[in-house]
Amino acid sequence: MSWAAHDLEPYAIQKHAGLKLAFVPLLIGSYSPDMMSKWFVYGIHLGPWDLKASDPAQFHRGWPGVGFTHSLTYGLLIGLLIWKVFGSKLWGVSFMIGQFAHALTDTGDTVGTMLLFPWTFHFHLDAWAYAGQTGRNTDAAAYFSGLGCMWDLVWIVYGLYSWRVLTSAYFDEVIYRADRFWPWLNRTIPRGALLTLYRAAFFYGTSRWIAWTIWAHVIHHYPYDLSWGGPHWVPAAHP
């Protein structure tokens, strides 16, 4: 799983697509595979109850489980549903591309994703360890010690290199014009607030990346292991 790439990739995709894609469904698509499942992967306490998947990796990425949310099939189906139900091809296609980005990015870890579900084969590059089953803090420490965080860094650097996509002028000329959602929102929310909302995911992804890096390596001194499949000090899950 990735911790910041899903926040940042939509900006890079939008940069190349321009008016052809809408940013909001692109971002929703990018977040969608983990929206309903992450809390059950890490577990939560609800009063006397501890709710957690008995096999978090299987639940998150496998079948039986909700792993189908990480397949291209899921993105295609939900995209088509959005197109047909809400009558917006732009939103349907944008959602689908955002979801594809998520599903493809998550093939980078050791569990990978069932891209071609219902075929349950996991496509996995094994570049970084999947450690969701260890709990959220150890998962964070492991992720920010391996190649996964370097993949996130690529998107941060690319975003800063493409700084124009974050400017007010780009928002007015491309983001706002590409999607009627923004003018509709602008009837009740001032334009300055909309611009901030547009920038929020980049802010969130980048700030979180820095914060987790400081937490893992300055405060807790977890060792970096940038070897393929690392860090090897954490037990990686496999399909």
């Binding site: 926040d7 964070a140 300055g192 920038r199 802010f203 979180r208 820095i210 937490w215 405060i219």
Partner: protein, 56 residues
């Protein structure tokens, strides 16, 4: 090249990010929620500057 105005806006976001990071490193639950991050950035990068401009 970025204009002076672009750099001023970027500086504001950097200050907001530094505070967000400081809070997050101290209390990591703060880092987990996208909605908390969204509310934080709207508050610090839009609401507060808008109010300051209005009252100065």
């Amino acid at each position: 090249m970025p204009t002076r105005s672009d750099l001023r806006v970027f500086g504001g976001y950097c200050v907001a990010a530094a505070i967000y990071i400081a809070i997050g490193v101290t209390w990591i639950d703060f880092l987990f929620s996208f909605w908390v991050g969204l509310a934080y950035v709207v508050l610090t990068c839009w609401a507060v500057p808008t109010l300051v401009r209005r009252f100065t």
